[in-house]
């Protein structure tokens, strides 16, 4: 067995802080949506709003980091081995077939991960951020020339984004257990070191 250093310190900090903030926002967000009562509407709104601004700030640093380190290239999509990956998750994983993708520092995400994360970054996040920002400042719409917009659409777009995030979250957590050993990926995300075959 071999260990390689995959996730650098900032990346790990970013990932876990982001995880905490997103979980917080899902819990408070669905309360604001009226799905259940937990903290109370007022507290839920306060926490949700503060977490949102915290995440935006984190993102500013993360984007800066991605570009200065060239790590953004990790998300360039590829169709190569996508089919093999899908076949692996559907059957190979049960029969101990060889993992079709070999992690390296330069290619730390498998082709399916690349596509999934790119979708998160280019679709889900912008949808949530844009709708969330408008939601937060809906009283300013008129002064921004956006008076024709409708809070119901914006709230609905925000909720659609939230559902997409929730589904991603479920799949993401599960797939984190599909490494060399069930805890391999999770340990790697904590320590930076990934165990590979």
């Amino acid at each position: 067995m071999e260990r390689i250093y995959i996730f650098k310190r900032f990346e790990r900090f970013w990932h876990w802080t982001q995880a905490l903030l997103i979980i917080t926002m899902m819990i408070t967000g669905f309360e604001i949506h009226g799905t259940y009562t937990n903290l109370g509407f007022e507290t839920a709104v306060e926490v949700h709003t503060i977490a949102a601004w915290a995440l935006i700030t984190l993102w500013v640093f993360a984007i800066f980091w991605h570009f200065t380190t060239g790590e953004w290239k990790q998300y360039i999509p590829t169709t190569e081995k996508v089919e093999a990956m899908m076949r692996y998750y559907l059957t190979g994983i049960f029969t101990h077939a060889e993992h079709p993708f070999r992690q390296t520092t330069l290619h730390k995400h498998n082709p399916l991960q690349r596509l999934a994360y790119l979708f998160v970054k280019l679709m889900i996040n912008p949808l949530i951020w844009a709708s969330g920002f408008l939601y937060l400042f809906y009283t300013s719409w008129e002064s921004w020339g956006l008076g024709w917009m409708n809070l119901e659409w914006i709230a609905t777009a925000h909720v659609i984004g939230a559902f997409m995030m929730l589904i991603f979250f479920i799949a993401h957590i599960y797939l984190a257990t599909t490494g060399h050993k069930p805890m391999s990926h999770i340990k790697a995300m904590i320590t930076g070191w990934e165990e590979i075959d």
């Binding site: 802080t17 309360e31 604001i32 949506h33 009226g34 799905t35 009562t37 109370g40 509407f41 007022e42 709104v45 709003t49 503060i50 977490a51 949102a52 601004w53 915290a54 995440l55 935006i56 700030t57 984190l58 998750y89 994983i93 049960f94 937060l136 400042f137 809906y138 009283t139 300013s140 921004w144 409708n150 809070l151 119901e152 709230a155 609905t156 909720v159 659609i160 939230a162 559902f163 929730l166 589904i167 479920i170 799949a171 599960y174 257990t177």
Partner: protein, 542 residues
């Protein structure tokens, strides 16, 4: 692009994200200091008890007025121009002729043909019928508003006069009121007060707490919990503190309500002729501190009263909630009037008036209101197929002048002329043989009343269900008792019936929720099955 308020949250968020600062809401300001209680002692430069003009054993109210007018030469002329005097008001927008003289309500119903009783609350002496001289200065009643003794009482049936002779009051009670000591009262006149305004305004509809719901005698000496401004130990506002009065014209009227004022604080000295009797006139449109900036956003849609008056009739006094005239007129076997009382001692049935219900700590109803009110007046077509709105508050979500207001809706069933299809004017009170309260004869009372209103009774009496709306604006709670977000931002909350807005936590698109949670559940089931197979296989391999 951003206001200071809007930037508080981002600044706070950044601070936390960077874990560099302990977040302190930057703009949190201390609440304004509470003013010193107003001293009881008169601050006037004139001591009326020293005036020779008032050292007279007055025989009647008008005599007192004539004495007042010797110095206050213009006072009666000023009163003559007011609604308090004319009981008339023409709405400039709708053109409707309103005022107590014209409106039919669903309490005692109408003034017409019942003046000698109703004018116990008229700011004058002698309005018994149409022959009343509205140009007479001596007929203006100065005392009812300026008495400080509390011993001046205009009694129903005396056409606006107090009793000048010893009189049994209430009738048949065995209790007697001594003659009104007009000299003492005249020598002790002073500014209007909650008590003087309350003489009529706390007792509309025939008794204490009956009519308004947010005005009753508990406001003569309220605690802070009951009204934060009128709190007798605190700010101790008199009515005129908000109902700013100029030349005896009192501002702030139910007939022409200022439902929203986007111009904000009305600075003293301003030439602006806006209504000064609004919350906004003093507090502006962004009254909440920075740390509660989100609440300031709400003033675009909500009247202040909606959150700050969580319930009305918040004292031990019960306010009337409904009045059913259709059961009136039942007499006992001896042919005597029946009165039934509830456990609180309030009359729930009276042969004169029918059935009543009462309540206190009443949660208002809520509706869009732009300040315009359309009344159903005498002669307007009504039928018993539908609930007749005595006064219909206008406005909807798309109306920039409309806000969501707390409203007291008084429900009733009252007389209408089925043949003429109009709300009825009925002769209820009087010393004649037609007044319903003495004779219990519907047809006679209707005939007399309808004729007084300038019409001929068709002979067909009906009862129609009615609703009368009252904006709730008094009994402002201290801020700690204001409604929290959850009162409305929830399913089935206070604003459950408000249309035209998207209210988070109340509103959602059910289809989106079904699809969203459905897919999330499928994903969860999928990974559980996938994971389950892996676990089983791993165990089997040992």
């Amino acid at each position: 692009m951003f206001t200071k308020d809007q930037l508080i949250a981002p600044v706070l968020g950044i601070a936390i994200a960077m874990a560099l600062l302990v977040a302190t809401p930057a703009g949190a300001t201390a609440p304004p200091a509470v003013a010193e209680p107003v001293a009881e002692k008169s601050k006037s430069t004139a001591d009326h008890s020293k005036f020779e003009e008032l050292d007279i054993n007055f025989k009647s109210g008008p005599e007192v007025t004539q004495a007042c007018l010797k110095c206050h030469t213009e006072a009666a002329k000023q009163i003559h121009k007011t609604k308090h005097w004319s009981w008339e008001y023409t709405n400039p927008v709708t053109g409707q002729k309103l005022g107590k003289k014209n409106v039919i309500n669903n309490f005692c119903t109408s003034v017409t043909s019942n003046n000698s009783f109703c004018s116990a609350c008229h700011i004058g002496y002698g309005w018994a019928d149409d022959s009343f001289d509205f140009t007479s200065e001596a007929n203006v009643d100065c005392i009812v508003c300026h008495d400080t003794t509390g011993n001046y009482k205009k009694l129903p049936g005396l056409s606006g006069h107090p009793n000048y002779e010893t009189m049994e009051w209430p009738p048949h009670s065995g209790k007697f009121r001594p003659p009104t000591d007009l000299k003492k009262i005249a020598q002790n006149v002073g500014p209007t007060s909650r008590k003087t305004c309350g003489t009529c305004h706390f007792r509309g509809g025939g008794g204490d707490a009956v009519k308004h719901g947010d005005l009753d005698s508990s406001l003569e000496n309220p605690g802070r919990y009951l009204d934060v401004h009128m709190d007798s130990e605190g700010l101790n506002f008199s009515c005129s503190r908000c109902h700013v009065t100029d030349e005896h014209e009192v501002s702030g009227s139910r007939y022409a309500v200022t439902a929203a004022d986007e111009k904000g604080v009305l600075i003293p000295g301003s030439q602006d002729t806006r209504n000064p009797t609004t919350c906004v006139a003093c507090h502006g449109n962004t009254p909440h501190p920075d740390k509660m900036a989100k609440l300031n956003d709400h003033t675009r849609k909500l009247a202040c009263q909606t959150c700050h008056i969580p319930a009305y009739a918040r004292s031990t006094l019960q306010t009337k909630m409904s009045w059913d005239w259709s059961t009136a007129g039942k007499l006992d076997e001896q042919g005597h009037r029946i009165q039934l009382k509830n456990s609180a001692g309030k009359v729930v049935y009276d042969s004169k008036k029918g059935n009543f219900t009462y309540d206190r700590y009443v949660v208002p109803e809520y509706q869009w209101f732009n300040g315009e009110v359309k009344f159903t007046l005498f002669g307007d077509k009504v039928s018993d197929d539908e609930v007749v709105k005595i006064n219909d508050f206008q406005g909807d979500a798309d109306d920039p002048d409309a806000r969501i207001w707390p409203v007291r809706v008084f429900r009733g069933k009252q007389m209408y002329d089925k043949g003429l299809q109009t709300l009825a004017v009925m002769h209820t009170a009087g010393e004649d043989d037609a007044a319903f309260w003495g004779n219990y004869d519907w047809d006679k009372a209707m005939e007399w009343g309808m004729r007084a209103a300038g019409s001929e009774y068709s002979g067909e009496l009906g009862f129609v269900s009615t609703e009368m709306s009252w904006p709730i604006t008094h009994m402002v709670s201290p801020k700690e008792d204001a409604l929290g977000c959850e009162s409305c931002h929830t399913d089935g909350g206070r604003l459950a019936g408000i249309e035209g807005i998207y209210l988070p936590a109340r509103d959602r698109m059910p289809l989106i929720d079904t699809i969203g949670f459905g897919l999330a559940l499928l994903a969860l089931i999928g990974v559980l099955i996938h994971g389950g197979i892996r676990v089983i296989l791993a165990k089997r391999e040992g």
